[in-house]
């Protein structure tokens, strides 16, 4: 991938390092990357492989496992980025994935990334990793930050105490990476031998039990290098490890069929580690039975005693290696900033101000590029393609669906969606990089707690204002199962970029019209804002009721890490997040909008009897539509435009003209269009029988209907469950029909003319 540029520059050649990106063919060694959340693990990963994993100052960015590769001195290394975890006790899915890979994936080297400024707490995980594996390198990352905070780490003492090599790095600036690569290479090839410090078995109070089990395990598995750790896990009642003992599979990988696809493990069994002959089953069962018996003799607080022991050792090692030079100014800075950003007086105003600023920049900034893209894709390229197809002699039944249908829908989605996404998300990422977002969650948690949700939902909700699919992905930062599901299911109630234009258009034409001219703009704006706020209100309401009913049994935990502030890296953030968004928008346009365009063209052009398919369906849907204050055209538009909210209005206009033709307006059947001026749009809609009630109901329905298909797909991927996906689709639709029906009935009761 990046070989052409990186491999030839002099610096790189000197170190003989090649970043191979995702080209993982023929790798001799597997390197795992472990570490606490928010220690810059993803940054180290990117620095090693030359890839652009999304990084952020935010615990829990990496959930799915990323893989990449690099080469050094003719040897190829496959790098596996494990999810950031606080521990390996396998109590959450992330921890299980990380632990299983270290235990069963048998990496040749494990690089443990730690935050040099918070070494003591990070050593908790380091010591646990060292219990499992022999071959490890400690990557002492964020050295720049530690220095800013006046913290010095004696790497020699640390290396001696841990029994593994220690490499100081500042991965954000590429410092120390060549040394890291060299050390990884040396450990992999055996040039450096590791003698890791193992404390678990020595924890006072557990010693006897551990030794008993460990001794029996060694009789059966003479080559087991981490017998103490396995014993500890057996005593702690870890059923996965018990299963491994039962099957004698310590030399094998497992098939990843039982975990969700994102967590499936690779086939990494190396040929030189063939399974040894299996010991008799009764012998293994006897060991497990013994462990089950001893567990209850040790007492109920097994886990506690264990973690306490590991932390005590971590504190001892850290106190020998870490020297705080002086009361650091960076720390004071952070404190002062926190006092302001979370203060009683300024906390909320700053938050609201920043939010409005981001929205304003997005709306204002997107106008021009959006018009430009639209002119380019719709006004210039579209006629060109059409003429070209005609002159080459492509038959209309091919040209129609592909160019008039698919291409136009795609162009529409790109021009409406791309500019706001490309502005909104980089701004968001900058705030994220700086470390402000966790403070927002902190300020708002009380409100969300009332609804049974997590404070971090404030952020996923805000992200939803940009794009619901992105908002759903962002729910990964919520590590409590119940609250995460809540955030995913309710994300659709955030009015996304694709729906804002619909709101603005309808509010301007219909709501503005009922007010005196000088107030028209204000009334329209208020209308749109009310709908958005209604969405927020419904988010809380639905979260509240779901957490007390359907999601009651899901596990719920809370903690919120507030990372130190870090100066954001402007250019890199903008670049990465821009690339990310462009790819998502384009992918979505091709995969979802293109087929939708074809379908839209087809339903308007396939005729049964004297009428097109669309006309038949619209007639059938009309009674239902009118009952809820809408009409058949709108319902059909929502059915066929499910892939993308932004083409709902063009589809509605096209179908309305199809039903009630107007001279000189619109193109042919199935071709999306947008009238030159507001007056034409108004006259089309009035002609189609629209009233202020229709517009109001459509504004509500646009807020409360099923998520677009990209979001549905994302929800399925993130939850891995049809049950939750179905709920997230049906719940908003049901709410939409209910609310629209109530509004329409109420309005008609008051004004029978509607």
């Amino acid at each position: 991938m990046n070989t052409s540029t990186c491999g030839t520059c002099p610096q790189s050649r000197a170190a003989r390092v090649t970043r191979l990106g995702i080209d993982m063919q023929g790798c001799q060694y597997v390197v795992a990357l472990a570490g606490n959340p928010n220690t810059g693990k993803s940054t180290v990963f990117n620095a090693l492989t030359g890839l652009h994993q999304h990084t952020g100052n935010w615990p829990g960015k990496t959930v799915a496992r990323a893989e990449g590769a690099f080469a050094y001195q003719d040897r190829r290394f496959k790098l596996v980025d494990l999810p950031g975890t606080y521990s390996l006790m396998a109590t959450s899915i992330d921890e299980e994935v990380a632990r299983d890979f270290l235990l069963f994936g048998q990496p040749d080297v494990t690089v443990i990334v730690v935050d040099a400024s918070r070494l003591e707490r990070n050593l908790n995980l380091v010591l646990q990793v060292l219990e499992i594996t022999d071959q490890a390198v400690l990557c002492l990352n964020l050295m720049d930050e530690a220095r800013r905070r006046g913290i010095e780490v004696d790497t020699d003492t640390l290396a001696a105490d841990l029994g593994i090599p220690v490499v100081p790095t500042a991965a954000r600036f590429g410092k120390g990476i060549p040394e890291l690569i060299r050390t990884v290479h040396d450990v992999a090839t055996g040039a450096i031998a590791c003698h890791p410090n193992r404390v678990g078995g020595q924890t006072p109070g557990l010693q006897r039990a551990v030794q008993t089990i460990s001794h029996r395990l060694k009789e059966v598995f003479p080559h087991l290098s981490n017998a103490d750790w396995v014993s500890l896990r057996l005593l702690d009642g870890d059923s996965r490890v018990a299963e491994a003992v039962r099957r004698a599979e310590f030399r094998e990988t497992r098939d990843g069929g039982t975990l969700p696809s994102t967590t499936a493990l690779p086939e990494t069994s190396s040929p030189h580690e063939a399974p040894i002959s299996k010991p008799p089953r009764h012998q293994l069962e006897a060991i497990l039975e013994e462990a089950n018996k001893l567990r209850w003799e040790v007492g109920l607080d097994f886990h506690e005693v264990l973690v306490e022991g590991v932390y005590a050792e971590a504190a001892r090692i850290a106190s020998r290696a870490v020297h705080a030079r002086r009361q650091a100014s960076a720390e004071d800075w952070d404190r002062r900033l926190d006092r302001i950003l979370t203060s009683r007086v300024l906390g909320y105003p700053i938050m609201v101000g920043l939010f409005l600023l981001v929205i304003w920049l997005t709306v204002q900034g997107a106008n021009y590029p959006s018009a430009l893209l639209s002119t380019l894709l719709v006004d210039h390229i579209y006629p060109f393609l059409r003429n070209a197809a005609e002159s080459v002699g492509v038959p209309p039944w091919i040209r129609g669906p592909i160019i008039d249908g698919g291409y136009l829908a795609m162009a529409w989605v790109v021009s409406v969606m791309f500019p706001p996404m490309a502005i909104f998300f980089p701004l968001f990422t900058l705030l994220e990089d700086f470390g402000y977002l966790p403070r927002v969650a902190f300020n708002l948690d009380r409100l969300f707690r009332w609804a049974g949700a997590h404070g971090k939902q404030a952020l996923t909700m805000t992200m939803g204002f940009g794009c619901n699919a992105a908002g759903v992905v962002a729910c990964r930062v919520i590590d409590s199962p119940r609250e995460r599901l809540l955030a995913i299911i309710t994300n659709n109630f955030s009015l996304c970029n694709g729906r804002w234009p619909t709101q603005v258009l309808l509010a301007t034409i219909f709501l503005g019209a009922i007010a005196p001219a000088y107030l028209a703009g204000t009334v329209a704006t208020l209308g749109v804002i009310s709908v958005a706020l209604l969405g927020v209100f419904i988010t809380f309401l639905v979260s509240w009721s779901l957490s007390r009913t359907v999601l009651r049994g899901e596990v719920s935990t809370f903690h919120l890490e507030l990372p130190p502030y870090r100066p954001p890296r402007l250019l890199q953030t903008l670049y990465t997040s821009l690339i990310d968004r462009t790819l998502i928008v384009l992918w979505r346009a091709v995969v979802f909008a293109f087929p939708a365009g074809i379908v839209i063209w087809l339903v308007s052009n396939i005729h049964i009897g004297n009428h097109s398919l669309a006309e038949h369906v619209i007639r059938a849907l009309d009674p239902l539509g009118i009952a809820v204050g809408l009409n058949g055209v709108i319902l059909l538009a929502y059915i066929i435009a499910i892939p993308a909210n932004e083409i709902v209005i063009p589809t509605v206009l096209m179908l309305t003209v199809l039903m009630t033709p107007m001279p000189g307006v619109g193109a042919e059947a199935g071709v999306l269009f947008e009238p030159e001026d507001m007056a034409t749009t108004t006259s089309i809609l009035t002609q189609g029988g629209w009233t202020t009630l229709t517009a109001a109901c459509l504004m509500l329905f646009s807020l409360l209907h099923n998520p677009c298909s990209t979001t549905i797909y994302t929800i399925y991927k993130e939850t891995g469950s049809w049950k939750w996906t179905t709920l997230s689709v049906l719940l908003p639709v049901a709410l939409g029909f209910l609310v629209c029906f109530l509004v329409a009935s109420g309005a008609r009761a008051i004004l029978p003319s509607l």
């Binding site: 886990h303 973690v307 006092r339 979370t342 948690d445 935990t557």
Partner: protein, 330 residues
């Protein structure tokens, strides 16, 4: 493994013969409960406990007798046979394992465990049972402190004794909370009592029992006290801190305290998560600042800021640095 979803449970209860099976199993369980308390059972007991008419209860008993699961020596003396006892023990075992599972692996609150386990116990196959037990690490007691019968039918001893039998002034540890009748159980829960919580008995009155728990004096009715079992114990440091009741929530901004232990009420993922974050005995913790709305509070734990909510902070017990004469606490 997860709890069978609601539609599986519904479907389970629609299967032919299931209603009868539920009644049979519940009847045998009732008999087992009575026998373990040294009591016998008559038809009326069955009818009221199962919520059926006397005739129906009669039919159930006759049917169970035909199946060889119980014998009737006199009209009032119904006894389970060896086989009947075995069936009852299996149901008790499933019920208590489910309660344990619900407590450790789900977010259901304590007053839901019993009801949900009762629904699940009749639908559990032997494979489910084995899987459940293995996943939980072969536990010996359910979250109420009731012993779980092993697969072979041996039952670990029920620990402790009713609280009325203890002496005033003694330090005790809650060993068992009987979950029926529900009103009594709910009363105990409302005082924050759970298995493993240390208490000091003050007085056993005529109508009430007064005790100290988590830094507060609690009065419970004699009726609820029937459900509270305790055992005598020398308190460990974490239990002493728990009895004193000083928690992270009682520290003021800028003060510090040393963690002694986490309340036994915090279970499963939440418990291990707190431990992994550094809320372990011996950690020195300072509340640094709070959210504009009061909670959560950001605590400095081993060099990192971790925010916790008020209810969580109230479940982590600390010892102030000067070991007790901590005047700042109000």
């Amino acid at each position: 493994m997860a709890i069978p979803s609601w539609w599986k449970r519904w479907w389970g209860f629609l299967r032919p013969g299931i209603r009868e099976r539920v009644l049979f199993e519940d009847a045998l369980k009732l008999l087992h409960d009575r026998q373990s308390e040294g009591l016998s059972a008559n038809i009326e007991d069955f009818a009221s406990s199962l919520g059926v008419s006397r005739q129906k209860a009669e039919r159930i008993i006759r049917r169970l007798e035909q199946m060889g699961l119980l014998v009737r020596s006199t009209p009032d003396g119904i006894q389970a046979t060896e086989e009947g006892r075995r069936v009852a023990l299996r149901i008790v075992r499933i019920h208590r394992l489910w309660e344990r599972y619900l407590a450790e692996e789900t977010g259901l609150p304590a007053h839901d465990w019993h009801r949900r386990a009762h629904e699940l116990e009749h639908l559990t196959t032997d494979e489910d049972l084995e899987f459940l037990e293995r996943n939980l690490g072969f536990p010996q007691y359910d979250p109420h402190g009731d012993p779980i019968p092993s697969a072979e039918g041996s039952v670990p001893p029920l620990r402790g004794d009713r609280i009325e039998r203890a002496q005033p002034g003694e330090t005790l540890i809650v060993s068992h909370l009987e979950d029926e009748p529900q009103a009594s159980y709910a009363e105990l829960l409302s005082h924050g009592l759970a298995v493993g919580i240390p208490i000091r008995l003050n007085r056993v009155g005529e109508h009430e029992v007064r005790l100290e728990s988590q830094g507060q004096t609690v009065e419970i009715t004699r009726q609820a006290a029937e459900n509270l079992w305790v055992r005598r114990a020398e308190l460990r440091p974490d239990q002493r801190a728990m009895l004193d009741g000083r928690t992270l929530a009682s520290l003021r901004i800028g003060e510090w305290g040393v963690v002694r232990g986490i309340s036994p009420r915090v279970r499963g993922l939440q418990r291990t998560r707190l431990l992994d974050l550094g809320f372990v005995p011996g950690s020195r913790i300072t509340p640094e600042f709070c959210s504009p709305s009061g909670y959560p509070i950001a605590f400095r734990v081993r060099g990192t800021l971790i925010a916790l909510r008020r209810d969580q902070a109230g479940l982590i017990f600390v010892e102030p640095p000067d070991g007790g004469s901590h005047a700042a606490r109000t």
